[in-house]
């Protein structure tokens, strides 16, 4: 795909994973997340195998583990909650280093931590190997409602335009001596947001008129290419493996 719309979670490349059509990657990622969520929390080994599968996919995609590690910190706020659970949970309790911990709480914490991390890592894998534009194309090929893909396409295009507008308005405020340091000085910023909203609304109207003028009927022209059975097989293999791991974990639990 063309340049532009580089997002911080995307790592351009030409690996077999990058080259897969976006629609198969979206389906594969969704299945992988479902497999992770369905894995019983009492079998920690299963989560280790899930991670191994992901490591293999990253290897093929040629993306270093560190790259994912730094981006997975997005998960941190959720992990904080998990850390509290062993202290807050009920009986039975175990004593570790003189601290009383709830067994149920420990499992719950591990469950959130393991599934959350793996889920984030799967999403990051999809994002790292697929440009935003292709994600929208993939959704389109998966027959997502036209309104959803249209909104996503327009959002991709206009996010930067609106951010630019907001930046110019802020500069104009600052240039006139506005220097908000305290909450009670935030009024001008709030009013700026209000007028930004109205300007964006008006722009939306003009964009719509311009689209109508070029014969738009509510559906974006379809792009992208169909995926071959081999591509489906290749993309779904890791997800299928993870589903198998989840099933075995239920069996041995």
């Amino acid at each position: 795909m063309g340049a532009g719309h580089v997002h911080p979670l995307h790592r351009p490349g030409d690996s077999p994973v990058h080259r897969l059509p976006p629609q198969v990657k979206i389906v594969a990622a969704l299945l992988a997340v479902l497999a992770v969520v369905a894995t019983p929390r009492e079998v920690p080994l299963a989560f280790a195998v899930h991670l191994l599968v992901l490591l293999a996919v990253w290897r093929v995609a040629g993306i270093p583990v560190r790259w994912f590690a730094t981006r997975a910190v997005i998960e941190l706020p959720f992990v904080v909650l998990a850390v509290l659970l062993p202290f807050a949970g009920g009986t039975p309790r175990v004593h570790v280093l003189g601290t009383s911990l709830s067994v149920g709480g420990l499992y719950a914490a591990f469950n959130i931590l393991a599934k959350g991390t793996l889920g984030v890592l799967v999403s990051l894998t999809l994002a790292a190997t697929t440009p935003l534009r292709d994600l929208v194309l993939g959704l389109q090929r998966l027959r997502a409602p036209a309104i959803v893909t249209t909104i996503a396409t327009l959002m991709l295009r206009y996010l930067d335009v609106i951010a630019g507008e907001a930046r110019r308005m802020r500069l104009a405020r600052v240039a006139r001596g506005h220097d908000p340091r305290f909450v009670f000085q935030a009024g001008a910023t709030a009013r700026g947001m209000g007028s930004l909203f109205i300007r964006s609304y008006e722009r939306g109207e003009r964009v719509h008129l311009a689209m109508l003028s070029r014969g738009w009927t509510g559906v974006l022209p379809e792009h992208g290419r169909a995926a071959s059975p081999a591509q489906w097989l290749a993309a779904l293999a890791p997800a299928a493996l993870m589903a198998l791991v989840a099933a075995v974990a239920w069996w041995v639990r």
Binding site: M1, G2, A3, G4, H5, R133, T153, L154, L156, R157, Y158, D160, V161, R203, R206, V207, L209, A210, M211, L212, S213, R214, G215, W216, T217, L220, P221, H223
Partner: protein, 248 residues
Amino acid sequence: MVGAVNAAAALSVRGLSFAYPDGRVALSGVDLLVERGERVALLGPNGAGKTTLALHLNGVLMPASGTVVVTGLPVRRENLREIRRRVGLVFQDPDDQLFMPTVADDVAFGPANFGVRGAQLEQRVVQALAAVGMVSHADRSPLHLSGGQRRRVALATVLACEPDILVLDEPSANLEPVARRELAETLAELDTTMLMITHDLPYTAQLCPRSVIMDDGVVVADGPTRELLADAALLAKHRLELPWGFAL
């Protein structure tokens, strides 16, 4: 045989009136005839109704009374698709027009809506981009283009629809001098019928042999550009004036 004359005309507007929902009357009886192949400038002060008229030409707005006929086809709901193919509207702000992730996608949007597919669509895209000298930028995002380049791509998105009449809203606004001249050269090479809304009188003199002045929702003058621009009293009456140091 008025009908026969109109059928030959690229654009025929008769007694066109329109008021916005808030009651503001924008057009009160506009008459305008543009022959095929003509390049006509539409001049007038802010709020004269120029852009409102342009939005009627492809049926984005529907007249309260009066008629608009484009190369023989009246603007009515059942004809809208064909009307919008025949009338190409280039909006003032290219950011309103260019909404797809890449230049090529955007140029393909119009013709794809009008049913062009496959190799023919690709050919249309290349031809339109070639006409404005932007082929090498086909895969870039419109965000990463300069103002002048965006304006040329916006023009290409409409040219790709192969319109019978091209309507441009302030094509030279916000352009640096070189980009303004380059756009003029591009426009001068097109043989499409053209209606150009502008405040840029030198641009008018350069590109359009005929000019129409609108004020207060009606056409107040219509004639050879040089004659109109030389009539200082007429220009002053409608808040128009040549830039400092410019004389015809």
